[in-house]
């Protein structure tokens, strides 16, 4: 069964160190001023990488049944639907917040 994967201590420490490193990078990158949309893209990109590392190796999704990974992805897909469709409204209004 896939449910009982045991990681070695060394491996877990490696994952932890990578995450610390990425945290440092995401802070350090703000010291060099990246132009407007790209700073957000980079910051979110690093956060996504970190989240994937945590979910794959700390939460064992990498070794687990596919269904759990599917659930995880499903929740993110529905979040994206939520924000995506809401933005269709909020970004394209003539008046950002309607006045009554």
């Amino acid at each position: 069964m896939s449910g009982h994967h045991i990681s070695s201590a060394k491996f877990l420490w490696g994952v932890g160190t990578t995450l610390f490193l990425l945290t440092f990078i995401t802070v350090a990158i703000t010291w060099i001023a990246i132009p407007a949309p790209w700073n957000v893209v980079v910051a979110i990109g690093i956060a996504v990488v970190k989240a994937i590392i945590v979910s794959a190796f700390f939460m064992n999704l990498y070794w687990d049944t596919k269904f759990h990974a599917m659930l995880f992805v499903l929740s993110i897909v529905f979040f994206l639907l939520f924000i995506g469709i809401t933005l269709l409204d909020t970004l394209y209004r003539t008046d950002p917040i309607p006045t009554f």
Binding site: F78, D89, P98, F100
Partner: protein, 581 residues
């Protein structure tokens, strides 16, 4: 995992036939009796019945409120309640019917009772969580009752800002009650998803799953994905009132339309939480009473999932006139039409199931037919409302009121009643009076149409919803509608009467009064404490009426998962399957 063992490995199971006991001495109702045993039970059947009792109480309260509203509307202006009271009464009618009756009705009450039975499981995956979700429901209900007696709520069941952030009633207690209720709904959904995945009986593969379970599965997915958004919405609304955080309140720089996005991201899918399990029941009932294999099994199963998914894409059609961008209006209007596709697939498949079937017009089947008729009207008028230009005219009129009552009451409540009458003998081992049941069904059908058909006309002529007063032109319609409501009320009182009579003096029903092939009927009625005395084994689909009953009553012959080979009258499961092929 039991399922995998039976289907994918080459291990052979020794099975034999287990005929259900027609007159069981011991069953879940007479084992572990007493108030305390009921209050602390983790048995899904008892929890289901506790839910059933609770939602009946709320349906009664909500129904009486509706009758009060209709009585007030007999004449324009004030007849016996003030405008403020009227506002509170329609708010309560909506909130109670939706949050306390419709949402838990099929999943939590009937679903809880029937889901493990249809899976051949002893219980749901997390029985204690199941009990907890019932008590969370009760706590939510207590908060709501508290809100009613400490100022009341007059915002409508949607709690739109900015009014809900500023009105004087006790909105906080009410929204907190609904917030709590959300957790009950989430836990039920979570429990069902895991149970369907992990606790299926040997041989019960996904393509043999009863359609009721596909419906409940789709419903559970919606519950799990949508309800958290309601929770955060109501939490933000509570904070709006408590701290004035301003996210939704235009007086503090916030955006009330954003509230509507949040609210409808839950509440539109919630419409499908209410109706999709009803589809499941209708599939069961139509197949059983047509004596025929269901037409288009996969089409019906997958269309439930499709409805669940599309339901998440269309919430903005509630907001066409709310000030949302015209681009969003167009996209939402277009997406709304998509809902019609899977729904239509279902209707056609049900009709095709009945075609050339041996139709038996027992009460559950009558309700299923009423469902088909009323729900189709509800669905078509929904398509009209989804059309952007038409909706601008009809928005917030009685047309909308009539539409969603046709869907919610004509659809969901009829499906619920079909399910209640269908599984009633399974729950209590007793029959109800068929004659009075048909009378009551007829009265409800006639009363319902009398109540809501005139509302379509009124709405199209411009009668706005939620109004206390109206112009004289609408009085005949309102009066006719109110008469219909009374007729419907009589129908429900007759139902209460014969069901109560059945509980006390009903004749014994036997284990399978409908001759159904579904698994829940292959155990005695009332059900034994642990559902089956054996581990059931499934080799046929739940609607295979062309196969003999004996093939539907198989169970593992020995208690050691089929490793012993000594029993004499055992059938080898693989052999039986070969014979069929």
């Amino acid at each position: 995992m039991a399922t995998n063992e039976a289907t994918t490995s080459i291990k052979k199971l020794q099975v034999r036939r287990f005929k259900p006991d027609e007159n069981p001495e011991k069953h879940y109702l007479n084992e572990e009796t007493g108030i305390w045993a009921w209050m602390t039970t983790v048995d899904h059947k008892k929890i289901g019945l506790m839910y059933l009792a609770s939602i009946t109480v709320f349906f009664f309260i909500g129904g009486m409120l509706a009758l009060l509203l209709r009585t007030e509307l007999l004449s324009p202006a004030r007849s016996f309640m003030d405008a403020d009271v009227y506002n509170q009464v329609f708010t309560l009618h909506g909130a109670i019917m939706i949050f306390f009756f419709l949402i838990p009705s099929v999943p939590a009450a009937l679903g809880n009772f029937v889901l493990p039975l249809q899976l051949g499981a002893k219980d749901v995956a997390f029985p204690r969580l199941n009990l907890a979700s019932y008590y969370i429901y009760v706590i939510g209900a207590l908060f709501t009752i508290f809100a009613i007696f400490t100022g009341g709520v007059d915002t409508g069941w949607t709690f739109y800002t900015p009014y809900s952030a500023t009105t004087s009633g006790n909105v906080m207690a009410m929204t907190f009650g609904v917030f709590v209720l959300g957790f009950s709904s989430i836990l039920t959904g979570l429990n069902f998803i895991v149970t369907i995945h992990k606790l299926r009986a040997p041989g019960l593969t996904w393509n043999k799953l009863p359609l009721n379970l596909w419906g409940l599965y789709a419903t559970s997915l919606i519950q799990v994905l949508a309800t958290p958004v309601l929770a955060i919405t109501l939490l933000l609304l509570t904070m709006e009132r408590l701290l004035g955080i301003g996210i939704f309140d235009p007086n503090l720089g916030g955006d009330p339309v954003l509230y509507q996005h949040f609210f409808w991201f839950y509440s539109h899918p919630a419409v499908y939480i209410m109706i999709v399990p009803g589809f499941g029941i209708i599939s069961e009932v139509i197949s059983t009473f047509s004596r025929k294999v269901i037409f288009g099994y996969w089409a019906i199963a997958l269309s439930s999932l499709a409805i669940a998914f599309i339901g998440f894409l269309v919430w903005g059609h509630h907001m066409f006139t709310a000030g949302q961008s015209s681009l969003a209006n167009m996209v939402f209007s277009f997406l709304t039409f998509l809902v019609g596709i899977p729904t239509g697939i279902k209707i056609f498949n049900w009709l095709a199931t009945m075609y050339k079937g041996s139709i038996d017009l027992k009460t559950p089947m009558l309700y299923a037919l009423v469902f088909l008729f009323l729900f189709t009207i509800g669905g078509f008028t929904g398509i009209m409302l989804g059309a952007l230009s038409v909706d601008i005219h009809l928005h917030d009129t009685y047309y909308v009121v009539a539409h969603f009552h046709y869907v919610m009451m004509g659809g969901m409540v009829m499906a619920f009643l079909a399910g209640l009458h269908y599984w009633w003998p399974k729950m209590f081992g007793k029959m109800y009076n068929e004659f009075w049941a048909r009378i009551s069904c007829g009265l409800i059908f006639v009363g319902f149409n009398m109540t809501f058909l005139p509302q379509f006309v009124m709405g199209a002529q411009g009668m706005p919803r939620r109004y206390f007063n109206y112009i004289d032109q609408f009085q005949p319609f309102h009066q006719f509608s109110t008469m219909g409501a009374y007729v419907m009320g009589i129908g429900f009182f007759i139902m209460a009467g014969y069901l109560f009579h059945s509980l006390r003096k009903g004749e014994r029903s036997g284990s399978n009064p409908w001759g159904s092939r579904a698994l829940e009927w292959q155990t005695s009625s009332p059900v034994p404490l642990h559902n089956f005395e054996h581990t059931p084994v499934i080799i046929n689909g739940p609607y295979d009426y062309h196969k003999p009953m004996s093939e539907f009553q198989l169970g593992i012959a020995t208690s050691h998962n089929g490793h012993d080979h000594h029993a004499g009258d055992n059938t080898d499961i693989s052999k039986t399957e070969k014979e069929q092929a």
